[in-house]
């Protein structure tokens, strides 16, 4: 059974809470992650996405010099790195976010996982499972046909 630690991105973008919005924007501009996790003592306290920066830019309330804590989403839903994919998928279904910081048992940040990664990994697993199921089905059906056609002869060897 696959765990989150296998599919997570192990090098997310991280900034301290004293950083400026422009630093976050610069980090995001050069990397495809689309979000920066704000940490305090290695624990995730917030997340800032490209949309947050665009909102700040369009509303002109917060300048690029402002602190990231002003625009970040501060109630972060984290997932533990040892949790199973199916369990995480259920959390995603109820929460509806796209990106989740991954933490270890002590709550320290270890990675980032997106809804995309999880859904696609589950889909691949189910495909594999389905192929296996079909193989087993075919073997069973073949065996059943064998029994149907030869049960008369079988009955001389096995007493029903």
């Amino acid at each position: 059974m696959a765990r989150i630690s296998k599919i997570m991105d192990k090098s997310p973008l991280i900034l301290g809470k004293e950083s400026m919005i422009s630093e976050a924007a610069r980090l995001m501009a050069n990397k495809p992650h689309g979000c920066v996790i704000i940490t305090e003592n290695r624990k995730p306290i917030g997340i800032i996405t490209e949309l947050d920066i665009i909102k700040a830019m369009a509303s002109k309330k917060a300048s690029l010099r402002a602190k990231v804590t002003e625009v970040m989403s501060s109630s972060v839903t984290v997932v533990e790195q040892s949790s199973k994919l199916e369990k995480t998928n259920k959390i995603i279904d109820t929460k509806g976010f796209r990106r989740y910081p991954v933490v270890d048992k002590e709550g320290n940040l270890t990675g980032l996982v997106t809804e995309n990664d999880i859904v696609h990994t589950i889909n691949d697993q189910i495909r594999f499972h389905r192929n296996l199921q079909n193989m087993i089905l075919i073997v069973f059906v073949a065996f059943e046909f064998f029994v149907f056609f030869f049960y008369r002869h079988l009955s001389s060897y096995i007493k029903f």
Partner: protein
């Protein structure tokens, strides 16, 4: 077979090439979308994502949409299959597919659309699989009973 036209978003927000990035940001926020299609002479030429806007924001020179719009623009036809899209997504790391039919914009397929389609697809297949399994099981059980010596003896006693 799932095709591009069934999973695409048809209401696409477009913006002119000469518009400012700020206008693009405002448009994105007011329409609640993460991607805009950039138009030149009423023809789609590129896409503008949140990422491109943030990039343009850092690069002070680029104040216009055309300076910071994405360079890779890979349109697909409405008849493209789901498997083909997934393959492109994994191989080329492209996450956005403008759907274009005869030079006209028909829709757009974003990451969200693909994820939703994958979820539905997976669920649908699971249900199909269970249904086939159930039918097989019933038919098998019936035949096993009908042809077995036990069934034979019941049929004999009824006759």
């Amino acid at each position: 077979m799932i095709r591009a036209k069934t999973i695409m978003t048809e209401n696409v927000v477009t913006i002119k090439e000469a518009a400012s990035l700020n206008a693009a940001a405002q448009l994105m926020l007011s329409k609640h979308v993460s991607t805009l299609i950039v138009m030149r002479n009423n023809k789609p030429v590129s896409i503008l994502t949140e990422h491109d806007i943030v990039r343009g924001l850092i690069n002070k020179k680029a104040g216009k949409v055309k300076d910071s719009m994405s360079k890779n623009f890979l349109p697909i036809s409405p008849e493209t299959t789901y498997n083909h899209i997934i393959k492109k997504l994994k191989d080329n790391k492209i996450k956005l597919f403008p759907v274009i039919e005869k030079d006209k914009l028909a829709g757009i397929i974003t990451e969200t659309d693909i994820v939703d389609a994958t979820r539905d697809f997976t669920k649908f297949h699971q249900i199909m699989q269970e249904a086939i399994l159930a039918i097989f099981g019933l038919v098998t059980a019936f035949f096993l009973f009908f042809l077995s010596p036990l069934g034979q003896s019941i049929r004999n006693s009824l006759a």
